[in-house]
């Protein structure tokens, strides 16, 4: 855990981008090594996601990939680079630009037992496919009296990037969270991105899988072929006693930056990466709340009707007696995301805000000796 924590500060910067990677070796299908215990392997998140797709498509012929530019182009963030050469045009399907229809087609194919992974080139584009995601992916299992399953993975980049403008900076988790029957998962590290995507592909439930546009070039340790992570389980990133900070996706790094600062100031916050945005892992969440008795939710989502709003309500409802302080939230401003750098930064949560919020909730502490 400590190693992971130390690694994170570098990740927020651009260290990962500069590192030289033996790319050709990664592009080829990774040959199964005869040596069982390998040295720790590092790669970019986009490569980890690509490995997950590659391995699952190899394992199960029912898995296929559908989306705009996923084939010959290799995916807008390289996540499916070269896969069409290995699996052919029938399994790696380049679609025209028509989110509503290719989403519906993927779901229709899933009803017959295929396991399509449907990529939204940008999560914002999936608003055009909202009806299919809601009424068909989400509800069909129920309305058919349990007859049909819709084992799709709907994945793609979302979140606030670097000056991408309002439409390409959306956090659709708040839109999708109220759809009955759809599961929401947000990956955050190289390791969990691969392990979670593999689990999502194997799941019979429709899973919306959130990747963050700024994390594709994060570098870190990646798991092997059999590393599969539970979709419904939160991850305690840093154990602490003063306050529970619940966060997910890129905000995990913002919080960990703040945590390092807080540590210097003598605070000991607990940081929990939610991972499962629906359903919430209430076991892990409740255990943490009982321990620290204070809650701060840090998210990139909108404050109104967002993930934090839902989590805050659930904690207040079910853990009220465990709390010594009202539930606190740090969310994005309820405005369209601006293009200008300074304005964009002002709409999303910064580490200094997290530090400030923890200080005011926990009270003054004696700083550690330098």
């Amino acid at each position: 855990m400590l190693a992971q924590r130390q690694g994170m500060r570098g990740l927020v910067g651009k260290a990962g981008l500069k590192a030289a990677v033996p790319r050709p070796a990664r592009m080829a299908a990774p040959a199964r090594s005869r040596v069982a215990v390998q040295a720790k392997r590092e790669c970019f998140m986009w490569e980890a996601l690509r490995e997950a797709l590659d391995e699952e498509m190899e394992k199960d012929p029912a898995v296929c990939l559908i989306g705009e530019d996923v084939g010959h182009y290799g995916g807008s963030y390289k996540v499916s680079l070269g896969l069409h050469k290995k699996f052919g045009d029938l399994r790696v399907l380049d679609t025209p630009i028509c989110e509503n229809s290719f989403m519906g087609m993927g779901i229709g194919a899933a009803m017959t037992g295929l396991r399509p992974i449907i990529e939204g080139m940008n999560m914002g584009f999936l608003l055009l496919a909202f009806n299919q995601i809601s009424n068909n992916a989400g509800m069909l299992h129920y309305t058919s009296g349990g007859q049909y399953k819709t084992p799709v993975v709907i994945r793609g980049p979302g979140g606030v990037g670097k000056q991408l403008g309002a439409e390409h900076s959306q956090r659709l988790e708040s839109y999708f969270q109220s759809i009955p029957g759809v599961q929401l998962v947000a990956c955050s590290t190289v390791h969990n991105s691969k392990a979670l995507l593999k689990a999502a592909i194997r799941s019979d439930n429709p899973v919306v899988f959130f990747e963050h546009v700024l994390l594709y070039n994060v570098k870190g340790e990646v798991g092997g072929r059999d590393d599969v992570q539970c979709l419904e389980q939160a991850e305690v990133v840093r154990e602490g006693t003063d306050i529970s900070i619940f966060t997910y996706s890129r905000m995990r790094y913002v919080v960990m930056q703040a945590a390092a600062e807080l540590e210097k100031k003598g605070y000991n916050p607990e940081v929990v990466d939610l991972i499962s945005l629906k359903p919430f892992d209430m076991g892990t969440i409740a255990a943490s709340v009982r321990k620290t008795r204070r809650v701060l939710i840090v998210e990139e989502c909108m404050k109104t009707g967002g993930i934090g709003a839902s989590l805050s309500a659930v904690i207040s409802e079910s853990l009220f007696d465990e709390l010594d302080h009202q539930v606190l939230r740090l969310s994005s401003q309820d405005v369209p995301t601006a293009y200008a750098y300074e304005l964009e930064a002002a709409t999303i949560v910064q580490p200094s805000q997290v530090v400030q919020m923890v200080e005011s909730a926990v009270g003054p502490r004696m700083a550690l000796a330098a």
Binding site: P96, C98, G104, G145
Partner: protein
Amino acid sequence: MLGHIVHRGLAAGGFVAQHTSVLPALSQRLFASRPSDDKVVSVEVAPFAVHKINAPSRHVETNVGELSEMYKMMYKMRRMEIAADMQYKSKMIRGFCHLYDGQEAVLTGIEAAITKEDSLITSYRDHCHNLTRGGNVANTMAELFGRATGATRGLGGSMHMYNKAQKFYGGNGIVGAQIPLGAGIAFAHKYRKEPNVCVTMYGDGAANQGQKYESMNIAALWEIPCIYVCENNHYGMGTAEWRSAKSPSYYTRGDYIPGIKADGMDVLAVKQVTAYAKQYALEVGPIILELDTYRYHGHSMSDPGSTYHTGFEINFVVLPRNP
């Protein structure tokens, strides 16, 4: 309108007189005689209108046994829908309830041309599809009554009936949203290299949905074995086709996808054109069928239909074409 050229009812005596090549004995022993049930007869149907494809033969081969089965199925559909109408009016059925009476020949003709290995998906007007795909009157009505013994255990209701074992994919309440699903189901047939098609049904109202054109583009590009069936009952809820479609020639609106228009009130014409379309879909790719029909009820039970279905239309256009 094409469909008006030849009108006939299966049960009517006019059946024989209007068609060539029918055995003289047919009219006397239409539904009774078992021994000659499999005797092949040829019936001539009204001409088809075509778009970028040659028309199928107008001579349809059938036999007394098949005609008898078709009639029984259509009669069952009609009686069930009328019963649903009465149960709705006595408040046993609530919510939305879209009836299929008037359009029975469309589904019956399609089912006669395909197998249960072929997939079927339709809109919210799906009670009768449950009948042809493994369900029965009891579990259809039970669903309408909201019972656990219903087709989808009372969870789906009128618009959401399905049968996985017989490849019936519903039952979709959002107008036109079943069209991409149908293309995806047909794609899965191709993916698995199965010699089957997906019949994707929608109405003339849904024919103006963008997702139809989106999915047709993909289906044509990927040569997907999808038969797009436009059940043209001439009204998208209460709005007449000429008020909602610049071109109500729905069979031509696939542009690069060939289309055929047939009389949807003639079960044999539907059977013929569907069999032809299945062959085309498997060999080449998607095709559109426009089946000219009419619903005898309003759009749903909350719509009496009397504001736009005129008495003239019902008496002089519709009733003589009763399938």
